[in-house]
């Protein structure tokens, strides 16, 4: 969540200075958004609650962003 928030804030700030770069960044982050959603949904299927699914999805998102 911390990383997502950071990314969200960074995107907004970045768009103000360079829209082109922000769009490129968004394209880079979108597959990771998909990873986030997919992880969240699979965790929900495995019986985890909202906070734990979010935590796991957030970790997956962070790993995706950092290329792991």
């Amino acid at each position: 969540m911390k990383k997502m928030l950071f990314t969200a804030i960074a995107l907004v700030a970045f768009a103000g200075t360079s829209i082109v770069n922000a769009k490129e960044d968004l394209i880079r982050t979108k597959p990771c958004m998909q990873v986030y959603m997919e992880t969240y949904d699979e965790c929900a299927d495995l019986g985890m609650d909202a906070a734990d699914c979010t935590s796991e999805a957030n970790a997956a998102y962070g790993e995706c962003l950092s290329g792991n």
Partner: protein, 257 residues
């Protein structure tokens, strides 16, 4: 004749004395029995069926690679249930991660929330979400089916009970929770939000995760602290609203172009 009478009187006096001693002993003993209101139980975590990683549904999952090594990580987790009179506090007690990533996944699977039970009916789930702690009032599902099956856990005779539960985020999907409770331990309590059985739950099979009591401390004089409620308690509906709003804002921000 007088001597015989005196001897008889002496025997009667002795019997009365021993009777008094026996009564005092019984009173002390029953006091101990009924004042047995405190208990500390440690639960270890094991994957239900022996393995989480090798479970068919998990293997089919799109994120199965996230669960590599999670079986061992689950076994490193420990939870503690502290019961003091009518109140109890259930929480994770160790944080010994060898591999941070897989340990975090194991914790998420076994549950990171803590539970405060203020009495048999009032359960507060302490949720850490979005870097904030929420105290959420949770409902007790007391709809147990008592089954005539027994087994021994840690030398205690336990009885089986089951109940139906919905997945937290997919209410339409139901599964069976299995609890093994011990009537000899007169605490209507157990791991997580579970309890309400005529004895302490020593084993709880909650979906793919099983919580097993490995240490039961009934000593009366032990120091035990129940976590204090130091924040506003909110309802599940209020928490769900906060959760949805925060998630929506986050995803909106990330999807903006």
């Amino acid at each position: 004749m007088i001597k015989l009478k005196l001897k008889f009187q002496e025997i009667v006096n002795n019997l009365l004395f021993y009777k008094k001693i026996i009564i005092i002993f019984l009173i002390i003993n029953s006091y101990n029995l009924f004042s047995q209101n405190n208990c500390k139980v440690n639960y270890t975590v094991i994957p239900t069926g022996g393995s989480f990683e090798n479970n068919d549904d998990v293997k089919k999952s799109k994120i199965s690679n996230r669960f590599q090594g999670v079986d061992e990580a689950l076994k490193r987790l420990n939870y503690q249930l502290i019961i003091k009179n009518d109140q109890s506090y259930y929480h994770q007690i160790n944080n010994l991660g060898l591999n941070e990533k897989v340990d975090k996944t194991a914790k998420n699977l076994a549950g990171t929330s803590e539970f405060l039970k203020k009495n048999r009916l009032e359960i507060i789930k302490i949720i850490n979400f979005s870097q904030e702690v929420f105290y959420v009032k949770t409902k007790l599902n007391n709809d147990w089916n008592l089954i005539n099956e027994t087994k021994y856990i840690n030398g205690y005779l336990c009885f089986k009970a089951t109940q139906q539960k919905s997945l937290p985020l997919k209410k339409e999907k139901k599964y069976e929770v299995i609890a093994w409770y011990c009537p000899k331990l007169p605490f209507q309590n157990g791991p997580k939000e579970f309890g309400g059985l005529p004895g302490l739950i020593l084993e709880l099979q909650d979906g793919r995760i099983t919580y097993l009591a490995n240490k039961i401390d009934l000593s009366l004089n032990q120091e035990m602290t129940i976590k204090k409620v130091d924040k506003k308690i909110i309802s599940e509906e209020e928490f769900n609203k906060i959760y949805e709003d925060r998630m929506k804002n986050l995803i909106d921000n990330l999807s903006k172009n």
